[in-house]
Symmetry: C2
Subunit: 713 residues, 2 copies
Amino acid sequence: MPGSPTPPEGTDQPFALDGLDALFEAKSIAVLGASSEPSKIGGRPIKFLKEGGYEGTIYPINPKHPEVQGIPAYRSLDDVDAPVDLAIVALPTGGVLPALESCVQHNVRAAVVFSAGFAEMGEDGAGLQQQVRELSRRSGMRVLGPNCIGAVNRRQRVYASFSAAIDYLADGSYRSGVAFVSQSGAIGPHCLTVARMRGLDFQTWVTTGNEADIEFADCLAYLAMDDSVNVIAAYIEGCRDGAKLKAALQLARDRRKPVIVLKTGRTTVGAQAAKSHTASLVGADAVYDALFAQYGACRVDSIEELIDTAYACSTGEFPQGNRIGFLTGSGGAGILMADQAAGLGMDVAPLPESAQRTLHELWPPAGVMNPVDTTAQVTNNPKLLGQFLDVVLNEGNYDSVLVFLTYVGLLPPWSEWVADALIDAKRRSPGSHIVASMLGTPESLQRLSEEKILVFDDPTAAVAAIHRTGRIAAGFAEQRAHDPSPQTVPMPSYDGAALNEYDAKRLLAQAGITVDAGVLATSPDEAAAAAERAGVPVALKVASPDLQHKSDVGGVVLNVGSPAEARERHAQIIDRVSRAASGAHIDGVIVAPMVSGGVETIIGVHNDPVFGPVVMFGLGGVFVELLGDVAYRLAPFDEDEAMAMIRSVRGHALLEGARGSEPCDLGALARMLAQVANFAAANADSVGSIDLNPVLALPDGAVAIDALIVPKD
Amino acid sequence: MPGSPTPPEGTDQPFALDGLDALFEAKSIAVLGASSEPSKIGGRPIKFLKEGGYEGTIYPINPKHPEVQGIPAYRSLDDVDAPVDLAIVALPTGGVLPALESCVQHNVRAAVVFSAGFAEMGEDGAGLQQQVRELSRRSGMRVLGPNCIGAVNRRQRVYASFSAAIDYLADGSYRSGVAFVSQSGAIGPHCLTVARMRGLDFQTWVTTGNEADIEFADCLAYLAMDDSVNVIAAYIEGCRDGAKLKAALQLARDRRKPVIVLKTGRTTVGAQAAKSHTASLVGADAVYDALFAQYGACRVDSIEELIDTAYACSTGEFPQGNRIGFLTGSGGAGILMADQAAGLGMDVAPLPESAQRTLHELWPPAGVMNPVDTTAQVTNNPKLLGQFLDVVLNEGNYDSVLVFLTYVGLLPPWSEWVADALIDAKRRSPGSHIVASMLGTPESLQRLSEEKILVFDDPTAAVAAIHRTGRIAAGFAEQRAHDPSPQTVPMPSYDGAALNEYDAKRLLAQAGITVDAGVLATSPDEAAAAAERAGVPVALKVASPDLQHKSDVGGVVLNVGSPAEARERHAQIIDRVSRAASGAHIDGVIVAPMVSGGVETIIGVHNDPVFGPVVMFGLGGVFVELLGDVAYRLAPFDEDEAMAMIRSVRGHALLEGARGSEPCDLGALARMLAQVANFAAANADSVGSIDLNPVLALPDGAVAIDALIVPKD
C-alpha cells in the first residue's frame, strides 16, 4: 500500500512504528465488550465502522448475544477463526488484562483500550498499567491507551473510538491530509468538533491516553511517515522519552510535514531543584520551546490558533516569504492588518508605482499603496475587485495577498460576486497565495475551499495564520543541518568529578572553548610571580572543587594592582576561605588578568532529565536576571543554530553595535555556544550543569571569564 | 425622557452634545433622496424604519413620486408642514449642500449625510466638506458624515443608515445596553454582523464618516450620558481634538461605562519630526496608549477581542478581583487556561483543603486543586457538575469561575444537562461570576444568556475576556483622581525662549523639581573656585541656549579631579565649543559635583499636536534605547498615576532593589514625574519638549543631572 509507512532506513530510530499499521489501517477489528446499543462505549465503534463504510471484517465479541448491531457476534476471541489486526477493548477495568492476554494468544497485532482505572487512579491502577506495558513489550502487540478515546483513520475508514464527536458534523471532506494527535482525551474530540465547525476535518485522529505502550511521539512518527498525511496538529502535555520526541519531530521536518503543537504547562515549575544559577533559569517548558524552535515545529497558544494554523497548512500552499499585500474594502481593516503584520516583522511593501497608477486610474479615490483600499465602491462595482486583485497579484510580487471583504459575502448578490472574483483571480494568477478574511455563505465558502483559497472570519487571525505558515515554510526552506557541525577538536571526556574553576576551564579549553584560565598559584610567592608575568591588574579567585559560589566565602578579589598586593591577597583569600568554608579542599588561587571591554553574556547548560543537556544563552546584567531574556537549545547543535539562538534574544542588538559600541564577534560566540553544546552532549552522562558567567563577547573573539561544571547527581 | 442625556453640569465640556438627541432619538425623519426601491441607498432607511416599528413620522422627499414604499412623499422639504428632527441625505454629492440649506431653513435639527465625494476625494471635496462644516456651525444643525453609513438606535427604533447589515440577523435582543461607535464605515456594519453572530446586538450604533461636524468623541460623550447604554465599544483611527476625546473618555469613566476601543495605527510613524531624543521615542500611537491607560479605556487589538470584551461587559457583572477558579472536564484544557491566567498575572489560587476533601470524596479521581477536573466522569454522571460547581463557587472565594465543558453541549442529552447545571448553580450562588467555555446548541446558549452566564467557544478567549473585564472593574474601583494633585509650588511660567542647561534647571527647580544645577562659571578662575566649593570630582558642561547636544561639540568633561584641572578644562571647553559651533552663544560653563549611585532613569516631555504635553518615563541604559521599555502619560497627572507609570515599565524591579541594590525612593521619582507633568501642562503653549536625562533615582530622593527644554516651534 503506497501510504503505508516504513521506518526510515539505515537509522536506529528511538520510536516504535512496528504494528502501528494494525491500529491505523486494520484489515479486521474485534470489539471486546461489543454492545448492541449504539450509544454505549462498546456499541459506538461498531456504529461508526458500519456507517463509515469500513471494508474489513468486524468481530463483535459478546458472550451473551449471537448478533450485535446486525453483525454476527462471537462468545470470545477464541471462536474467531481468522486473523485479527486490531482489538478494541471496551470492558470494565478488571477485564482488560485477561482480554489483552487473549488477544496475544490470538496473535492480534494491536489493541485500543478505552477502559479507565489505570495510572490515573493511583498506585493500584499504575501497577495494572505496568502489567499492560509488560504484556505489550513481551508480546509485541501494540497497545493504545488505556484510558484513551481511541483513534480514527477516515481514509481507511477505521473507527476505533467511542467519542460522540466522531460522527458529529462529519461529512465527505476528510481527505484533508491533516492529522491530529492528542495526549488529552477531552481535547481530542473537542478539537475535532471545532475543526469541523470551521470546515476542516481530520483525516487521521488519535488520542494516546495513559501511553502504556504507544506514545505521542510514536504516533507523530507514524503520521510523519504516512504519505497521505500532509499536516500534523498536536496537543501535548509532556513526555517521558525526549530522544524519541526529538527524533519524531526531526522525521516530520525531514519529510516536510508541518507540525503545529499546542503544549500546555508554560507556567509549571520544573520538578528538579535548581542546583546552579543556570539551572534555576531553565523551566521545563523552556526546554519544549527550544525543542520546537530547533525542529521547526510551530508552537501555538490556543485551540483556536492550533486549528487555524492546521487549516492554513491544509492546502499545501505556503507563502514563500514574508512580503505581504493587503487588499481591502475597508480602510480601517487595512490599517489593522498592516499594523499587525508589521508588528510581526512582515514586509508590508508598497506596490510598485506603475501598479499604483493603474489602480488610481481604475478608481481615483482608492488607496493604492499597501494596504490597497478599493473603498466601498467594490460593493457597487463588482468588477473592481477582480481588476484590483489582478494588479496586486501580478505586479505586487507579494508572497501572500490577504483580501478583507467584511460581512457582505453573507448577502446575495455579493456572496456570489465575491467568491467569483477571488476564484477567477486565482485562476488567472496560478501559484499566487490568496487568503480571504470575510464572512460568507456555506456555499461560497465551499467553493473557495475547493479552489484552495483560505478563508478566516477574523482579519487578525488571518494575518497570524499567514505569518505562522510563512515561518513554517521558511523553516523547511532553510534546511538547516541540525546535527552538530564536524567537531574541530575531539570532545574531551568528563568523568563526573567535582572540579575547581581552573580544572573546569582547562577541560573546556580542550573542547575548543576559549577561556581565561589564568595561573594556579599555590603560594603567595607564586601569586606574585604570576601577577608579574600576567601584568597587573589581575583577579585572584580561590580554586576549590567544593565551592560553587566563590564570592560568598570571600574567595574573589578583583583589580589587584601589583605583584606585592597579589602576594598579600593570596594569603588573605586562603585564610578567609579556610575559615568560611572549613571543610572545603583548596587547590590554590587562580591569578588571571582582568579582561575588560566587550559585552557580558552568559552560557549555561542544564541537563534535563527528559531531553538531556539544554544550552542557555543570554546577555549579562539586567537581561537574564531581570528580564528573563534568554534562549535555549537542546544539545548538540551547530553554529548556524547557535547564531539563530543569539539573534533570538531581545537584547541581541547590543552585540551588534547598538548604543555606539563596537560590534562583537558573533561568529566566535556562536562557535563557543556550539562547542559547549558538543561538550555537554558528549558528556551527557556526567555533566549536571555548566555555568560560563560571564562570557565576554569581544570585537575579536569571545572568552569565558568564569566557569563552573557541576557533576550530575 | 429618562434616558435622554444632558451635559454634565457646572463644567465647560469640550464636546458638543446639543442636538445629538435629534439624531439618536428623532421624533420625525425626512429622507432626502427617498427611493421606492428598498435596496437602494435612499430606500433602505425607509424599509428599516417601517420594519423596525419606528413610531415617529417619516417624510420621504422625492420630487417624482407622490408615495414612497407606501408612505406619502413630498416634492421638497418646503412642502412638509411639520417640524422635522432629522434629515437623512441620500443624494449625489452636488445635491448635498443645497439639501442641507433647505434643512436649515426648515429648522431641521440634525442631518445624516450618506453621500460620498467630500474630503476623501481630495481638495475639491475637502472644500465642499468645509462648507458643510460651516453650515453646521452657523446654523447649529448637527451633521453626521458626510460619507458615513449612518446611525441606529434600536431602543428608539431610529434607523438612519443604509447598511445591508442593519436588518441582517437582527432579532429582539437589542436591549443589550451595548453601544458601538466607529470611525470606519466598513468596520461598523462588519462588527455589527460579527457581534450578532455571537449573540450580541448593539442597542445604539453609529459611524461618524468624515466628521464634518459630529466627531467620534461627541458620540462617545453622548453614549456615556445615555442611561440606557452600559457599555461602549469603539473603533477609532485618530482624532483632531485631543481635549475632547480626553473629556469624553473621562465622562464615560466617571459614569462607570466600560469603553472598549480598537485603535488602528500602532506602527504608523508620527508626522512630526523628532526634535529631541525624547520626541523621537514618542510615536503618535503611544500617546493613545497613554490616553487609554489613563482614562481606563480597554484597548484591544482585534475585532474578535473588541466584540468578545463588549459581550463580556454586557451582563453588567464584573469580576471584582483577579482570583480565578477553573472547573473543567478536560485536564488538558484546565492546564491551558491556568497557564494563560497565570501568565496574565491572575491568581490561580488552590481551593481550600476542606473543599478539596469534599471534592475528593465526591469523585476520587478528580483533580481538586485548581483547575478542578471532574474528569470525563461528568458526562456519565450529570449531577457531578452541579455538585462540583457548588463547592467551587461557595468555598473557593473566587472572583470568577471559568467552566470548560468541551463540545458536548452541542449534543443531547448533554446540551440540556450542562445548561441546567450552570443555571441552577448560579441561582444557588447568586452574585457568583460564572463564565462558560463550551460549544452549545442555540437553545442552551439562549438559556444561559438569559441567566447572564457568559459563554465563549474558545477557552483562551474566555480567559482573556475575564482578565480584561476584571481590569475594567479594577479601574472603576480604584477611583483614581485624574486631575493633577494640588500643586505644592505654583508652576513657573516659561516664555518659550531657548535656555541653557543652567537656566533650564533653575526654571524646573522653581517647579519643585530636584535638579543638580551646579554653578555657572564665566571664567576659568570661577570654575576653579566652584570646583573647590563643590568638592572634586566635578563635571564641567558648556552652558549655551543654542546647543542641545553639548557632548557633540566637546562641551562636556566629566570627573574633573582638582580645582586646577577645572580651571584648565574651562578654557579648553570654551575654546573647543567656540570652534565647533562658531555661531553659538556661550553663557559660561556649569560646574557641578559628580553624583553617583542610584539608578539612571529618563523623564521626557513631548508636546503632541493633538493631545498636548505627553510625559515619558523609562530606565536609562539599554531599557529605553534598546528595549523601548517606556511608559507615557498625558499631562497633567498626579503622583498615583506617576507611580502606576513607573510600575508599568518592564525594568521597574531595578528601582525596587532587584539585583542586590538598595531600593530607590519611588515616591520622590513619582513626585518629580507629576511635577514635570504639571509644569509641562501649565506651559503647554511654550514648551516643545523637555529632556531630563539622566534622572538619578536614589535611595533617598531623585535628582535630574541634565536638563534640556526645547521651545515650541
